[in-house]
Symmetry: C2
Subunit: 230 residues, 2 copies
Amino acid sequence: MRETPPDLMTGTAAQLEAGDGDRPSDSNLLLEGMACRYKITHDGTRQIFSFQLPGDIFDAQSFILETMDHSVATLTPCKVAVIPHKTMEEITEAYPRIARAIWKNTLVDAAVFREWMLSIGRRSAYQRIAHLMCEVYTRLDVVGLAEDNSVHWPITQAELGDALGLSEVHVNRTLMELRAAKLITLNNSRLTVEDCDGLKEAGQFDPDYLHLKRPASAHTECAAAIRESL
Amino acid sequence: MRETPPDLMTGTAAQLEAGDGDRPSDSNLLLEGMACRYKITHDGTRQIFSFQLPGDIFDAQSFILETMDHSVATLTPCKVAVIPHKTMEEITEAYPRIARAIWKNTLVDAAVFREWMLSIGRRSAYQRIAHLMCEVYTRLDVVGLAEDNSVHWPITQAELGDALGLSEVHVNRTLMELRAAKLITLNNSRLTVEDCDGLKEAGQFDPDYLHLKRPASAHTECAAAIRESL
DNA sequence: CGGTTCGTTGATCTATCTCAATTAATGTGG
DNA sequence: CCACATTAATTGAGATAGATCAACGAACCG
């Protein structure tokens, strides 16, 4: 971003708290931090649908669909670029390539949802956690946030459970199995992948569904396209 | 469709068998029948991601993402409108309103994925089945395929299990509970909702995530927009 | 330094799975 | 239109992955 136009503001956690049923007037590009999308059931349990990493636009659908059907919460303090729908409108009309990039972004989103469905529906707790770790690690790596097989991991065990359809207690026990198998180290909010191939195999991880193709992902393409245009 | 242009052909089940990893050159609009999208795990179990009903474009993402990350199968004989990507390209460029409608379609798709994730991750077998029945009934109703609280239901118990992350046996037992609770009748490939409110409550069903809003859904809007343009 | 969140552990319980048959539909060729 | 083959639904018995409940220790935070 060379210059910040008046209607593109950066905000912090506060603005990020979009809620189910809301009619937001902006979309958001996450610049720093980690967030998640989720929904609460009638009985009060929570399902997390995705973790949002720097470079993600996680609100694009609010631009087209108008009402939110889920909520967003931060896992850490976040910095976001707030993009008013009016601006989205203008950008996508003036720059079809960007519109295409944002569309692609939302489609990769959907592909990730499908993969999570597969995990939750058909994989064991051990496989699920391994798979998720591969995914988050890979996506962080793409945006340059991995170093020495290690990434910042602010996701609590309770949040992991809510993402994977597991109880906190079972997550805890399964994490210990992954540690015992020498696949990972996890402490102080830092995840280190000790045995990359082992972890991939444990999680049946195949990154095709992320549609990374070239080094640049849909997400970074999208963010890059927006930056260029500013 | 007033006239069928040369590059818009209707096809049957055969053409529909798109496979994981393929690079399709067409997208498909389902005209008649029921299909599903799915993926097979390494251990050979299957997860169904969605059921596709008449009016659905279920391949839009292949237009943008190029490679398929899942497969499509028919549940019944189907009739589809095959739309070459070249045509998609032309249509979306010439008619931004249609591009927008198709985009919206893919976003509703994603919303449905999220809801399924919630079901699989956090709802009981009983709730899951009730919820799915509400969804499919509602969507069929929107396209005029429901009559007297009753719809054609070609989904086998094994397929239900694959969609909901349950075993066939458990699906069978849970269906009998739903029958015993007088919520539904299900036989001869026909589902009758005997107690609509009861079923909705059992499944915690709230149709907001389908983004139907007005009588016309994103799906029908989309199909209608395409038909108009032909 | 006291309160809150997060991680860990033990004991018990249960929803759902697996395996294995059996019955009921559905379809097909002769 | 019947005999056989195949697919779909049903039932029983036993096994288990993961849930729940209840503590407790550790880390973090103002």
